[in-house]
Amino acid sequence: MRGLLQHSHHRRVGLAGLCLALATSGCGWQTYAVTRSLREVTGAKTRLHVVVPLDCSLTSYRVIEVTPLADLIGERIPPPMERYLNQRVLQAFTGLPSSPATVTGPVDADTGAPALVVDGFLDDYDAGSRPLRVVELGFNHVAVTLRVRLRDKTSGQLLAAASVTAEDDRASGTTRAAIDHATARIRAFVETGYAR
């Protein structure tokens, strides 16, 4: 068994060396330009972590109350950007398939219509370093992490929860774009509740 593991390890190291040799064999500016262009495509990433899966249909909800996200990152996010973030989160819940009304929460009055309450947190916000992204050096990327929860207003039952991180390693990456990507991913997550 030990011999097999060692053999497997040697194979992996050999494969790694081969890949590295292939990747660096044409280290001219053409190779760099091609791989850099591809990295510009792959540099913007979003990751969705489903905390509570959305297992029920949301079509019966006529009102969606979107509460501004609680800021857990302090003064790291500039106020205009925080406003932009909450505006984008609100937009993510606007124009959903069953056309529910979207309002900014919290709303104390009960309208009688079935309502979905959305709240959440801003867990991480970092603008990174554009100069370092240009030279592709160091820990430089833009990162925005949001966590949202969907609750039934009447019963208070937690229907779904998810965390989304938008990361951008590109020289052209901005926090605004990262917020756009994160909220688009939240929208896609919520839309699964209308596909049932």
Partner: protein, 246 residues
């Protein structure tokens, strides 16, 4: 004879000087974003301060690290959480700035240090009902540890570090070899630092690290995102403690 005596004196002076210099070894803060180790092997880190660290860190001689939790559900496996806690423990011990470093299962924050709170019994102080089922052995061992820790509280100020994972990517070490910015591993955690006795929060930060490197791919590198994160956390606490001690 005279020569050997002077050599012995010189040796004694040298040894005592060594001891003193080891005690007052200056701490050089780490640059996590760009440093040669991270460029070569990966494991660079960033620290984002949500609540800047404040207060007197020099009085803390004991650190309790609460077992890492997940804010992203099951996307971070329990084994990774245990490894994170172990890595933080190892890094704090390696720094040598704290007399005691321990892991604890949980921390219930004391919001106000009033008499009523002091009277409020912790789980290990409250006797179980005779009708209650016997607790598992692991719980009893944990309570024994908490009892011992509580008895130590009288003499040593304790810094409690809570940590929760807010983003995690395992990564793929083979995909990373394509050099197309794919397959990178990453971990981001949020930490809070509390004075155990009063429950006062002394700071809150987000620390993140990944496995990108420009020279040695993560398949061959000893550095991981866990190592980077632990270095970032310990660096933040140590630089604050060292600054307070000056």
């Amino acid at each position: 004879m005279r020569v050997s005596r002077s050599v012995a004196t010189a040796l004694v002076v040298a040894v005592s000087t060594l001891h003193v210099s080891a005690q007052s070894k200056p701490y050089s803060p780490k640059n996590g974003v760009v440093n040669w180790k991270a460029v070569l092997f990966g494991g660079a880190f960033r620290v984002t301060a949500a609540i800047p660290m404040h207060g007197d860190f020099s009085r803390f001689d004991r650190v309790e690290i609460v077992e890492a939790g997940s804010l992203i559900g099951g996307d971070v496996p329990p084994t990774v959480l245990h490894r994170l806690t172990a890595q933080l423990l190892a890094e704090f011990r390696k720094s040598g700035r704290f007399a005691e470093v321990e892991a604890v299962r949980s921390y219930e924050r004391r919001r106000t240090p009033t008499a009523s709170v002091v009277e409020e019994a912790d789980a290990f102080r409250t006797p179980d009902s005779l009708d209650a089922p016997m607790r598992p052995a692991a719980d009893m061992v944990e309570m024994d540890r908490e009892r011992q820790a509580a008895s130590r509280d009288k003499t040593v100020d304790t810094l409690v570090v809570t940590d929760e994972v807010i983003d995690y990517v395992r990564g793929n070490k083979f995909t990373q070899l394509l050099l197309l910015n794919l397959g990178n591993g990453l971990m981001t955690i949020r930490l809070s630092y509390f004075d155990k006795a009063t429950g006062e929060e002394f700071g809150r930060s987000v620390v993140s690290s990944d496995t990108t490197s420009k020279v040695v791919p993560s398949l061959l590198s000893p550095r991981t995102a866990l190592v980077g994160v632990a270095e970032g956390v310990v660096d933040q606490v140590t630089r604050r403690k060292v600054a307070a001690e000056r």
